[in-house]
Symmetry: C2
Subunit: 496 residues, 2 copies
């Protein structure tokens, strides 16, 4: 059965003095009022980590009670940082099954009350254990992806900085027009360059902020002006080092393929998008993975202004995660609230897009391994039959988790990418240099570099020595001194 949207609402995002329940109740009440409903058949609650951020469990039941909807079935759904979209998907199937008529999807997260170090630790738990134990954080992994992207597409690092700054500037500019946004100030290139280095080459202004907020949508079987056209959802390897490509996300591509197929549309049909810019580069990669632009061309489209509010394909008219803020559980649903507002022509004079009949939201779970693509359209949109779209998509080239019990020992490898992390997790030395090293056998592993001096002394695509120390891989530059050290320390030949 077809599923429609009858209500949408959200809190202002930012630092809030309200509890998570209070924020979620506010968003719910706005969406229910918008839908002219007092009761629903079910509630789907999206919160990523209420256990550790807030210290509550059984949160779905708490919320039903808080909303005055005691009795109504309430289920918590979680897909890491795409949780809001995951809850929406789950609710969509409940309604599409015909068993539920009206369903409330409610997503939120409360994060700003904790010290940043603790928040970072909690967020890092989405990272595969094998990589987390090196001290890898989300910004560190994103930074390694950024370096690799620059190298793969021959962008000098200064040019990469230029491009990333432009994403931040565009999204802050959009966000300045959005009353729900956390940051409503325009930023300049100077502001970007002044912002602190978080994980080389990513700066603070490359990263979505820590935010409190909640968003809500009501789904219904009754025809309304807004229809859910399609949802695609896909996973990828848990460890980033197991992926054949570091500069695109299979999970976005596969989710997009499913969504386009289900809606019978092509990327060229999409008029605007909310793309998960947890890190500035992810917006560019997103526009490539979604088929809007060819691989390696996303940054050019950005430079040409195509993704601006007045461009041919506006991306993140809301300000995106960067400027609207990123309460992790809520973001995926907040993207959809923005699309509803745009499709209805209710986004406000300055932010309202001219063409808004079909919009797309892409939400990233974890470091790109639990992603969703959702398409919403006006119910009166004229449909045109399209040829199928097929992304360049090769999951079979990934390393499987089972096969990954590493057999790598010492030896020479190639430094695929690296980063220097300036605020590593507790217990790790700062700064912390991490890299992905490809061994002669073709296996990619994370490794750390204890003899750090400056990130400028390391070069991607160069050979490095790979060692193990205390169960961790360590890489060293291929210098004469390091060769000598290794020769002196080499173990005696064992007797047969």
């Amino acid at each position: 059965m077809d599923v429609y949207i009858s209500g949408a609402g959200m809190t202002k995002f930012g630092r809030s003095s309200h509890s998570l329940e209070e924020m979620m109740a506010e968003a719910a009440s706005l969406a229910l009022k918008d839908a002219r409903l007092e009761r629903v058949d079910a509630i789907y609650i999206g919160v990523m980590n209420v256990e550790e951020f807030v210290g509550d469990s059984n949160f779905a039941a708490i919320l039903a009670d808080t909303l005055g909807l005691t009795g109504v079935p309430s289920t918590r759904v979680e897909t890491a940082s795409s949780t809001g979209a995951g809850a929406f998907e789950t609710a969509f199937y409940a309604v599409a099954s015909g068993h539920m008529k009206n369903v409330l999807v409610l997503a939120g997260e409360k994060m700003t009350h904790l010290p940043t170090a603790k928040t970072t630790r909690i967020l890092s738990e989405v990272i595969d254990r094998s990589e987390r134990r090196y001290g890898a954080t989300m910004p560190a992994l994103a930074a390694m992806i950024a370096q690799k992207y620059a190298r793969q597409y021959n962008l000098p690092l200064s040019k990469l900085g230029d491009i990333l700054a432009q994403v931040a500037i565009k999204n802050h500019s959009n966000g300045s027009l959005n009353p729900y946004a956390q940051f409503r100030k325009i930023i300049t290139k100077e502001d970007y360059l002044k912002s602190q280095m978080v994980s080389y080459p990513l700066r603070l202004y490359d990263c979505a902020p820590i935010t409190d907020g909640a968003s809500a949508i009501v789904l219904t079987l009754q025809r309304t002006p807004i229809k859910v056209s399609a949802i695609g959802h896909a996973t990828d390897t848990s460890a980033v080092s197991h992926r054949a490509s570091l500069t695109s996300f299979n999970s976005t591509k596969e989710a997009a393929l499913k969504a386009y197929t289900m809606a019978q549309v092509n990327p060229s049909d999409i008029q605007f998008g909310e793309v998960h810019d947890a890190f500035t580069l992810f917006e560019i990669i997103g526009t490539e993975d979604l088929g809007f632009f060819s691989p390696g061309e996303g940054w050019k489209a950005l430079e040409e202004g195509k993704t601006q509010l007045k461009g041919s394909l506006p991306i993140n008219p809301s300000g995106g995660l960067k400027s609207r803020g990123h309460p992790v559980g809520a973001s995926g649903l907040a993207q959809l609230v923005e699309i509803v507002l745009q499709l209805r022509g209710e986004a406000g004079k300055k932010r309202q897009l001219e063409r808004a009949e079909i919009g797309l939201a892409q939400s990233i779970g974890g470091l790109g391994n639990n992603n969703l693509v959702t398409l919403l359209e006006r119910s009166d949109r004229k449909r045109v039959m399209r040829e199928g779209w097929s992304p360049d998509y090769h999951p079979e080239m990934n390393t499987s988790r089972k096969a990954s019990i590493s057999s790598v020992k010492e030896g020479v490898g190639l430094l695929e990418t690296f980063t220097t992390l300036y605020a590593p997790p507790e217990g790790f030395r700062s700064p912390l240099t991490l890299g992905f090293v490809k061994t002669k056998g073709g296996e990619m592993v994370m490794a750390c570099n204890p003899d750090y001096r400056s990130p400028k002394e390391l070069k991607m695509g160069k050979n490095v020595y790979l060692n193990t120390q205390e169960g961790l891989y360590v890489f060293e530059r291929f210098t004469l001194w390091n060769r000598l050290k290794r020769w002196i320390k080499r173990p005696p030949k064992s007797q047969p």
Copy 2:
């Protein structure tokens, strides 16, 4: 669309040396093999608190990868201790919508590796904050419900002990025949009485154990011998003190009503059940809430042997949570695995029920506030049209959360029920006496009793003094000495 079950499997429950991922992979592989499938369209993962038990987040994606099903959409679902049933419900709608053909539901929990105190603390987070701050644990709340049940139905406490022992003995006897059960030993009344007092009057043998384990079911659109006839799901107030009744669960009644209506059956159609016996008394209350026996008659049915393996309505042929074990996220789905085995006639010579064409599972989330009732039947079962069933069900008599900002001050109240907790959470004195006190205004509040000597000195249904101390309600017995103390300590009358 109708939904069928094509595969089921589970690990042996108990203390496991395997990781949560490994256990879940084992259960998944058994269920997929049973269904003769290698790939599915989606995975629904039930884990209650993987964040705090295991320290991982984004677990749905980790599991897709672990199973070698990278790419497949994977969503984590949580409804507290009914999580396994909640994940099954969610997957059911996905298949019923027609968007998914084959879906894997996979539930598990890893608990035994942590110290018991930490496990208890994590489990306590499902309790409403307003009650948790008194030091209330799950056994403490269950114990207060048990005392109230005994009083309401005029059972002396020794008789209550008799009955509860019989539940434990029956379920251990069933579990001794179940190769998947954690405890496969028969217990006697002496064993029961020798087991330590956890929270007066509940003993260790009244409580389900701490367990590791995983269970899995494959749902499909293709007709198989086992059909999902219905699912009902309902919530109740988060605070137990807000409920009009302490001796039954509205959430079970409403979920059962929905399930029976959806399947067009009556309680009298049900041939056997798996009932959430996290505490022995909950099995008895469950059989009443589900309409099998009248309120206050469940214990009589038990005494008459009706719920035994050879009785007219076998309850917990698997051994229940008590003997099979209770890995919190997995239990709701393990109940359904048992029902599948029984319906297929695959439960083994000694445990196989004679009549097994339709079975029911009831799963409790939290302290009875996120419950599910699921009905499975043989696809060839002959259906008889039944009159509707209606439970005695009055949620409108509950106190709403919004209205509960307590206005109670000092005064005289009635001690509705109480318990003495012998292993309170860290930071609370042991033993800890907690009670529910009804004020003259009719409001029920939790309160503690610091001048504890023995639970035998307290009487339910008697007046007590209610005070506040450091933001907590405190109750004191209505003795002459306490009256005198209060008179001496009374504040001077304030001047107008």
